[in-house]
């Protein structure tokens, strides 16, 4: 299942660009966004298979983005990246409709597994 199109959203540019590069090496297509609003615009403009979304961001948080997505009655799978509340944040995100969550720092293999699972589950 290659050539999936992933939208990566995280305010830590260094992190998100590196992650994108690594995913590209694993034959994913990626687009990156450093904040929630930009991500929503990208989402509106293009078609993605999976969104990888950081929870803790200045301005729109990951949860806000998730809510907006649900408003657009989108059922695109979202994988949350949590940093600080760990489990609780993950659980809260899942209740908002996220597919799964990962705690930072992440393991790339785990992420690709979850992406594949999300796409499979969605199809």
């Amino acid at each position: 299942m290659k050539n999936l199109k992933i939208l990566l959203v995280d305010d830590e540019v260094e992190f998100v660009t590196t992650l994108a590069e690594r995913l590209r090496l694993r034959e994913f297509q990626t687009e990156i966004s450093a904040d929630g609003e930009e991500a929503l615009n990208l989402f509106d403009a293009s078609v993605f298979d999976v969104i990888v979304l950081d929870v803790f961001m200045p301005g729109m948080s990951g949860f806000d983005v998730l809510k907006e997505l649900k408003k657009r009655s989108s059922n695109i799978p979202v994988i949350l990246l949590t940093g600080h509340g760990a489990t609780e944040e993950g659980v809260e995100g899942m209740s908002l409709g996220a597919f799964d969550y990962l705690m930072k720092p992440i393991d790339i293999e785990e992420l690709t597994e979850k992406i594949n699972a999300a796409v499979k589950g969605n199809k």
Partner: protein
């Protein structure tokens, strides 16, 4: 207002000791003060009551005991007076009815004498005495005819007063008697006297009729203090009374108490109206106050019993009270210490969480960068440098992984647990947790034995938290034992409210110093691998669920963790 202040000061003074609160001396002082205070407030009123009662009873009883004696004395005096008056009026009547000549006739006199003897008791004889004091006619058992009474006092007195009742005297016949004489005048002017004597037996009888007890005494005494009747303690008839009876101007009833005749006595004196006589009743106090003494004894007994009961009760109560206070103090102290401990934990936790969160983001970057290096150079060349670079990247990723473990644990430590209660089987939780560690145990050949109570009741608690508890303790045990070591897990029904579980290993154990610190955050013996948060978290969870965690350990012998869970956990 003043009273309140005073009370406060008193209670302060007594109930707060200056000693250190934790010292046993503090409670000893407290107990002593409570005891003294309680004894004072109970015994003082009791003593007051007892004294007042005593005095009240004493005065009441005395008047009740003394009154009958004086009434009896009065009655007896009255009887005697009546008796004498009756005899006197009889003699007077005879003197009026008959003329001197009639009575001078021996036959008439002896007939009258016989009638008198028959109709009236007490008459001994009857005689007529002319104005020269010569007994010219006599009827009676003695030979007293022609006796001359001119020089006798009674003769003088009857000549002046017209009638006379003598004191008891012996007279010519040498036998105690009383003379009654009445003077009568003939139409020609010459006087004569009708005289009768009465024996004193009748007076003794009247006195005996008072029905006094054997220890008491009653007698008649004349104005000169001469006994007129027989006395048990004060002498015989006509002897001088051993008691000093106040006479003379004292014409009224008198009651006195004196210490005489070797004992305390009560003396009732009633003077006669017409004669210089007094009836004296002597009663020993011990007899009169017998009932009083009995009552006194009973009162004393009751008093002593009540005091003893009060003392026993006060001692018991103050002991109990101080024990309760002490227990409450200890509980408060413990609660305070626990609160302090949990506050310390939570503030450390918050700080740690902040640090962990800030470190997480750069860690993520390092992780991705190192990952990228690995991704870029993997499978590109077999050159030594490439291989080394990949190795370096791997070790960076490994180090980040360790950091992640630490930060995640720190975050876990800091987070506020929301307890979700459900019915669960402790045994199932234990078995689930063992599942996580099966592989390691298999690999290290650690023998994990299960000795669980199959009938263990289900408990109402938080499954996730209990899992965490067992996971933490089991991990500790696993790291304590050597390869091939042994861990025994047990569960049992402790009591109505608790179930128990224990995890016992034969590992390295802990020294006393280590044991004292194991629940403190960041205390670790694992040096590189431990965060020092596992057991504090475990302890916190168990406490939050209302349970208890007890650790026993001997160095080089092993460690035994015993955990108690409430069957129904607290929701807070």
């Amino acid at each position: 207002m003043n009273n309140k202040k005073w009370g406060e000061r008193l209670s302060k003074r007594f109930l707060q000791s200056t000693g250190d609160k934790d010292s046993p001396l503090h409670y000893q002082t407290l107990r002593r003060n409570i005891t003294i205070l309680m004894l004072l407030v109970t015994i003082i009123p009791l003593i007051f009551m007892a004294v007042i009662n005593y005095l009240e009873y004493k005065s009441n009883l005395k008047s009740e005991i003394i009154n009958p004696i004086s009434i009896l004395t009065n009655k007896t005096v009255h009887s005697i007076e009546l008796y004498m008056e009756e005899r006197l009026s009889t003699i007077r009547s005879i003197a009026s009815f008959y003329s001197f000549e009639d009575l001078s006739d021996e036959k008439t006199l002896s007939r009258i004498y016989r009638v008198l003897k028959k109709e009236f008791t007490g008459f001994v004889d009857l005689g007529i005495i002319d104005e020269n004091g010569m007994q010219i006619s006599y009827s009676g058992p003695y030979e007293l005819l022609n006796k001359d009474y001119l020089q006798q006092i009674w003769f003088q007195e009857v000549s002046i007063k017209g009638s006379y009742i003598s004191d008891v005297f012996l007279g010519y016949r040498q036998f105690p008697h009383i003379a009654i004489a009445v003077q009568q005048f003939e139409p020609d002017g010459h006087a004569w006297i009708l005289r009768a004597t009465i024996d004193t037996d009748k007076l003794d009888n009247i006195i005996a009729a008072m029905g006094l007890d054997p220890e008491s005494d009653a007698f008649l005494v004349s104005g000169e203090g001469i006994l007129q009747t027989h006395s048990k303690f004060c002498g015989n008839v006509l002897e001088h009374c051993k008691l000093n009876i106040p006479m003379g101007s004292y014409r009224s009833q008198l009651i006195e108490e004196k210490n005489i005749l070797g004992k305390d006595v009560l003396i009732a004196i009633k003077h006669f109206a017409k004669q210089d006589f007094a009836l004296v009743v002597v009663k020993p106090k011990s007899v009169i106050l017998k009932s009083w003494y009995a009552l006194q004894g009973e009162m004393l007994l009751i008093f002593i019993i009540s005091i003893s009961i009060i003392i026993v009760v006060v001692l018991k109560v103050s002991n109990m009270l101080v024990k309760k206070i002490r227990e409450a103090d200890e509980r408060r102290e413990l609660a305070f210490r626990e609160l302090e401990h949990s506050q310390k934990l939570s503030s450390i936790g918050r700080l740690a969480a902040g640090v962990a969160h800030e470190i997480n983001n750069p860690m993520a970057i390092i992780n991705e960068k190192a990952g990228l290096i690995k991704d870029l150079y993997q499978n590109t060349s077999d050159s030594e440098k490439t291989i080394k670079l990949i190795k370096i990247a791997d070790s960076i990723i490994g180090a980040v992984g360790r950091c992640r473990n630490i930060t995640h644990r720190l975050l876990g430590f800091a987070k506020r647990f929301d307890i979700e209660l459900e019915m669960l089987s402790l045994n199932d939780v234990i078995i689930e947790v063992m599942g996580f560690l099966d592989k390691e145990a298999l690999f290290r050949k650690i023998d994990i034995q299960l000795d669980i109570d199959e009938d263990l009741p289900r408990i109402f608690s938080d499954k996730g938290q209990i899992q965490q508890v067992f996971l933490n303790i089991l991990s500790n045990s696993m790291s304590a034992v050597k390869d091939g070591g042994k861990i025994i897990i047990r569960s049992w029904d402790e009591d109505v409210s608790r179930v128990g579980a224990s995890i016992k290993d034969n590992g390295c154990g802990m020294s006393k110093e280590t044991l004292a610190h194991i629940f403190e955050p960041f205390f670790t013996t694992k040096k590189e691998y431990g965060t020092g948060l596992g057991l504090p978290i475990t302890y916190g969870i168990v406490k939050k669920l209302g349970g208890d965690l007890i650790v026993k350990s001997n160095e080089n012998e092993g460690t035994d963790f015993t955990i108690y869970f409430l069957k129904k956990s607290k929701t807070e």
